[in-house]
């Protein structure tokens, strides 16, 4: 039933990355939006499944990329690295994060991690029917205020909320809505180290890369990040200071 890759090569206006914990309805959202206009394969050089598909909305064509379901973006597994690298380095026009209304707290971890990388985010609170069944009410407006990004409630399995979702994605893609994600501030030493690093973090290949995020990963000593950047001496000088106390 899947169409071939060639069929996807229509004019694409906006690219939307779909992220979320496993089992939140990511594929259900993906299928509902793209219908049969999908193609599956592997991520280049990886054994991780990649699904992409297209849909048209409001006169534009959207390419939707289904990222691997992960709890985190800290590159501890192949899946996490694929998801993180896509959001960081491919810089989609919108990152759509699907969450589970029945246990939102668990899902906000990933949301906050994405918000540290990009402001072009839409949060989808899915499984609203299940939440209602369990007597859980989600205040979507309050959540949106707290996070600083648009939040849309859905019951993807029944197609509920998907029009609003497409509309919200469109508004963020076109920068009609410019989300202002909540900035997570760390303690004084870490903020000091970030400030010291920032002026040295011009990564030529990725001019739009979020430098604050990059600084945090360097301070953590995340080895996967060194594949992408060369660390000039100035950065190393900051990094050898013992700023990142564990615990």
């Amino acid at each position: 039933m899947l169409k071939s890759k060639e069929d996807l090569n229509q004019e694409i206006d906006w690219i939307v990355a779909l992220a979320g914990n496993p089992n939140t309805g990511k594929s259900t959202v993906f299928n509902a939006l793209t219908g049969l206009n999908q193609h599956t394969g592997n991520w280049p050089g990886k054994t991780v499944l990649k699904a992409e598909g297209t849909y048209a909305y409001g006169g534009y064509n959207y390419l939707l990329i289904d990222l691997p379901g992960t709890y985190s973006l800290f590159a501890n597994s192949l899946e996490e690295q694929v998801a993180r690298d896509y959001i960081c380095f491919e810089q989609p026009d919108v990152s759509l994060i699907v969450t589970d209304a029945t246990c939102l707290a668990r899902h906000l971890n990933l949301v906050l991690q994405v918000l540290e990388i990009t402001d072009k985010v839409v949060v989808c609170v899915n499984l609203l029917d299940e939440a209602t069944r369990k007597g859980i009410q989600v205040n979507l407006e309050a959540l949106s205020c707290e996070l600083g990004v648009p939040v849309v409630g859905t019951t993807a399995r029944d197609g509920v909320g998907l029009e609003e979702l497409k509309e919200t994605i469109a508004l963020v893609a076109q920068r009609v809505i410019c989300p202002q994600p909540r900035v997570i501030s760390y303690d004084r030493e870490i903020e000091g180290a970030i400030a010291e690093l920032l002026p040295h973090l011009n990564v030529e290949a990725y001019p739009n890369l979020n430098k604050r995020w990059l600084a945090l990963r360097l301070l953590e000593g995340d080895p996967s990040i060194f594949d992408y950047i060369k660390t000039p001496e100035a950065i190393n000088e900051v990094l050898v200071k013992p700023v990142w106390a564990e615990g």
Partner: protein, 83 residues
């Protein structure tokens, strides 16, 4: 002294006091939902005692004994919400 998570019997509920692991393991435990202040229900242990399945923030997560040993807990009388 706070008991670590691997010492809590099946069927009990506890609250996480502190995650003493560092580095990548610490990060992974936090990502899996083992966050200070949160509740954990000890669901079952594999026949040889390792790993153990925990209900934490609405998901069932299995940890090895040495991983659970880095999570300090307070045992609670009763708990109704795990999410």
């Amino acid at each position: 002294m706070a008991p670590s998570l691997n010492k809590i019997p099946i069927g009990q509920v506890c609250r996480i006091k502190e995650v003493t692991a560092s580095g990548i393991l610490r990060r992974r435990l936090l990502d899996l939902g083992f966050v200070p202040g949160g509740s954990v229900f000890i669901v079952r242990r594999a026949p040889l005692g390792d790993p153990t399945a925990y209900l934490v923030r609405g998901a069932l997560i299995a940890l090895r004994e040495e991983e659970a040993a880095t999570i300090d807990c307070r045992v609670k009388e009763e708990e109704d919400a795990f999410c």
